[in-house]
């Protein structure tokens, strides 16, 4: 029997030897390997998101900043057994007063995406954060996380230009990372406007924190921080004060014109109004406004689907940035282009005389007349006066002569020289190019040839021609500055957080116009007469103006039964241009309504007194936002209403 106890002893020794051998293997032979693993186990690298770059106007006012926000999350995996998501949300709603239905909707949405952390509500107030944290024992799986969100200091200021941010889309994620950037799902990126265009500058570089963590990933200790590199700041060409003034002015006029048009069955209710102010000597955009607009702060904390749909499906298209995205015929503004071609290629001179005896123009073998906007004939006029009067008959004739000599090609070519049919290259995303129709285009799309009527229509900026407001102001700027077609720019400089200049955008030429100075001088003279002679289409508005303004009106027909767009583009002072101004009234019946707006912008810029009754509202930071002064808004209109009766196109 003792023999079996000896066997037992041998077995024990054998097993213990095996245990010691295994311990020696793990601890001595592979000890270093496991030591490294244990080090890796406790150290976690956490990215610290970099503060996004600011946007600062040319006077040094901060337009876009960042602010702290608190988001409410639910971690589905950490809900304890005694709770269901439903009971937890009910309790949470009872404690905090947050709408239960909203959280349920967000929870269901997040659950479908199987996220580890479902966002219940973004941007909750501090009080709710405190309530949630104090009751964390009763709310297992509910978590408040801090993050920064975009603070649009003046939420309604230049929303289309500034743009908004949002969570990165799958598409962008792939694309950006293919470009060599380091983006992760859930990152906030620019979606529109400058936020989008300068995303890679604004983003900065995330820092890293080396953390000692436990297996639940909770922070125990910080072992060191590689600080994030804040995004670069954008110094804009935009002038906040002017921008705000223009927006208030447009909103005021827009409200009034809509009210006015609603009471007049003859008039179509305008659907939007936009204005651009830029420096014709550099392309710097001083102001660019589009009414109606929206409030960027709606987007900053994550916009609700309802609010977004409301904006998206609003018939007035508040999200649509007309200055760079509206593709419309330019109407009479295009006569500057036709005029250029006439002088350059047909030998027309300033004093060349034309005759408009009936207000009608007949093409050979074509019975229907092309009409002037002025129903009766205007008799004898020279070329400068033709521009100033915006006489269609003269330009029909020039269009037909260009057709006879060059078919459809020369006028289209001239238009392209002015940058039509191409993006201006303004630093905003998704600018549209418009369309300059020519023989090839017509053959390809319509399967028919270029007719004389096409040239005649094109000569007054109608037909299939599509232009954007930014293209038109660029043309006028180039004529004003002696032939330099600049690339319009919203950003002047990019500086880093320390204030050092990273990129300094010098004025960039798209091209120098291949036209003679004398040609451009005739056009300038025509625009001068348009605004300064008693017969000019904008003469009543500008002829007694303290600063010499030159400009061109345009009323674009969008179809026989559809309402017209109104345009005015001009610059001042005439001799040494400092600014160019464009006003675009979408489906606003006539260019006449744009004139008082343009006049007030010039007044504001040159520090002239506003028209009586015009009061400037003060720009206050959001959320009060840019409130409008609704009183006295009718005065302007009455003042020019009788002017337009004699001088509308």
């Amino acid at each position: 029997m003792d023999r079996r106890i000896v066997i037992f002893k041998i077995l024990i020794i054998a097993v213990f030897v095996v245990l010691i051998i295994q311990a020696a293997y793990l601890q001595l032979i592979k000890g270093e390997y496991y030591y490294q693993l244990s080090e890796g186990n406790r150290i976690s690298l956490r990215p610290i998101s970099a503060p996004r770059g600011k946007m600062i106007d040319r006077q040094g006012n901060i337009l876009v900043n960042n602010k702290l926000s608190h988001n409410l999350y639910l971690l589905p995996n950490e809900i304890s057994i005694e709770h269901t998501p439903q009971s937890l949300l009910e309790k949470l709603s009872g404690l905090t007063g947050i709408d239960l239905a909203t959280m349920q909707k967000n929870f269901l949405m997040g659950e479908q995406q199987r996220s580890a952390a479902v966002i219940l509500k973004r941007n909750i107030p501090l009080e709710i954060k405190v309530i949630v944290e104090e009751n964390s024992d009763e709310l297992p799986g509910v978590l408040v996380k801090d993050s920064t969100i975009r603070d649009y200091v003046y939420g309604e200021l230049a929303p289309h230009s500034i743009g908004y941010v949002g969570e990165i889309s799958l598409n962008d994620l792939q694309q950006f990372n293919e470009l060599g950037y380091d983006y992760k799902g859930g990152d906030v990126v620019g979606i529109t406007g400058l936020e989008r265009e300068y995303e890679f500058h604004l983003k900065g570089r995330s820092g890293l924190e080396r953390l000692e963590v436990n297996s639940r990933g909770e922070k125990i200790n910080s072992l060191g921080i590689k600080p994030p590199l804040p995004g670069h700041n954008l110094i804009l060409n935009l002038d906040m004060e002017l921008q705000h003034y223009v927006e208030c002015l447009l909103q005021e006029q827009f409200n009034y014109l809509r009210e006015y048009a609603e009471n007049d069955p003859e008039l179509h209710t305008p659907e939007g109004v936009a204005a651009i102010v830029l420096d014709p000597n550099s392309g710097a955009v001083l102001a660019m406004a589009n009414i109606p607009g929206f409030n960027l702060n709606d987007f900053a904390g994550g916009i609700s689907q309802d609010r977004y749909n409301q904006l998206l499906y609003d018939p007035l298209e508040p999200l649509w940035n007309d200055p760079i995205k509206a593709e419309v015929p330019p109407g009479s503004i295009f006569k500057l282009v036709t005029g250029t071609a006439a002088v350059e290629y047909l030998g027309i001179k300033a004093e060349t005389e034309f005759i408009d005896d009936s207000g009608k123009y007949y093409l050979p073998n074509w019975s229907r007349p092309f009409r002037n906007w002025h129903k009766k004939g205007e008799g004898k006029l020279d070329f400068v006066k033709s521009i100033a009067r915006s006489n269609n008959i003269v330009f029909y004739d020039l269009g037909y002569r260009l057709y006879l000599k060059y078919q459809g090609e020369k006028l289209a070519e001239t238009a392209r020289e002015y940058g039509l049919g191409q993006q201006t290259g303004i630093d905003l995303p998704r600018e549209v190019a418009g369309l300059v129709p020519d023989g090839d285009w017509k053959w390809e799309t319509r399967g028919e040839g270029w007719y004389p009527g096409d040239s005649v229509n094109l000569s007054i900026g109608q037909g299939d021609l599509q232009t954007t407001p930014i293209q038109l102001i660029n043309i006028v700027s180039a004529i004003a500055n002696g032939g330099k077609l600049y690339r319009p720019f919203l950003v002047d400089q990019i500086v880093n957080a320390a204030g050092e200049i990273v990129v300094d955008y010098k004025p960039r030429l798209n091209r120098v116009l291949p036209f003679r100075d004398s040609t451009l001088a005739i056009l300038r003279e025509g625009m001068y007469q348009a605004t300064n002679s008693s017969y000019g289409t904008a003469g009543k508005q500008f002829k007694d103006f303290p600063i010499k303004v030159a400009g061109k009106t345009g009323t674009a027909q969008t179809g026989t039964s559809r309402p017209n767009h109104g345009f005015f583009v001009g610059y001042a002072p005439y001799q040494e241009p400092e600014i160019a101004v464009l006003v675009f009234l979408e489906k606003g019946n006539s260019s006449a309504y744009t004139l008082p707006i343009a006049a007030n912008i010039f007044r504001k810029y040159f520090g002239l007194e506003s028209l009586e009754g015009e009061e400037e509202t003060e720009l206050a930071p959001s959320p009060e936002g840019a409130e409008l002064n609704s009183e006295n808004q009718g005065n302007l209109l009455f003042q020019f209403l009788y002017e337009v009766f004699s001088n509308d196109e």
């Binding site: 037992f8 245990l19 295994q22 793990l26 601890q27 000890g31 244990s38 186990n41 436990n214």
Partner: protein, 376 residues
Amino acid sequence: MQWNRKLINNLNWYIPLSVLLLIIIGMIAISSAVEINKVDSNGMIALQRQVVAVMLGIILIIANLFFDYRVFKYYSDIIFLSTAGILVVILVIGRTSSGWINLGLINFQPSELAKIVLILVLAGVIDDNQDELQYLIGFFKPITYALIPFVLVLLQNDLGTSLVFLAILIGMLFAGGANVRFMLLIFGGGLLVIIAFIVCHFWFDTPLFFLKEYQLNRLVVFINPGVDPIGIGYNLIQSKIALGSGQLIGKGLFAGTQNQLHFLPEKHTDFIFSVIGEEFGFLGVVLVILIYLLLLWQMLNVARKARDNYGRLVVIGISSMFFFHIFENIGMTMGLMPITGLPLPFISYGGNSMISSLLAIGLVININIRRKKILF
């Protein structure tokens, strides 16, 4: 032979000393595992409970020494039946997998007591039927006795403890002089049948009535820990990292990151050995194993010198129990054995385990001091 002061002269001091040493090492390891070094730790409560359990255990040891161990043989059937009864009651009313009965201040775990009861009963059965153990039929009675607690505890989903009953049975049958060929036939055959069932389960998806899915998973992980490194393989991998990273001399008390940063699961109970390995290194591991070796060695000496075959078998049973616990627990932390919830005797935190282990040691001492040669 009732209490006699001279009995104490027979004591093999290695046994209480090595147990004391293990308890001290255990206390140190537990205080690190419950992070007593941290300000907000409530680990002191755990340590206090452990001390109370040790004191209760010592009282039980001293109390049992006043009785001659042979009274346990006399009453063993009654004790066995009542223990089995408690296990059945737990199964019916408990419905929880832990098999604990809440007795107000302490939680009583009957399966711990059942191990010692089985040893006392089997010792009697084997002692009385030694000759029959040469025949196959003779195995029936001891196996039946062992199967009752085995099945009852297995039904509580405590695979580890139920295997302890088998280890006790095998150890005691072997030491009791049972026919080795029949033992091989019965236990080897049983093992083959179980393996066949598991293989069929994997290949043909037949049901497994004796193993729950998670228990099977533990076996799978044991064979291949990389299967699910953050799921079921997590514990094993973290335990190996803890042990291995301790290297030769360890990271030092309270300095084990696997332990202190909560990577190690169940670290003050089942995986306490990993804490020792991480903080005291290979030297600590070897020390603990050598103390266990000393203890088992001396216990087997006690068995050899026991006054009668009953006492000898009781000590063998207790040795088998400890041996299985030690091998399974340490082996599991190293990946040599599948993961079960068996505590490491005298070291793991837990009052029931500590008290029943000390009671078992009390029995060994009881048998030791009443050994055959009393020299004076």
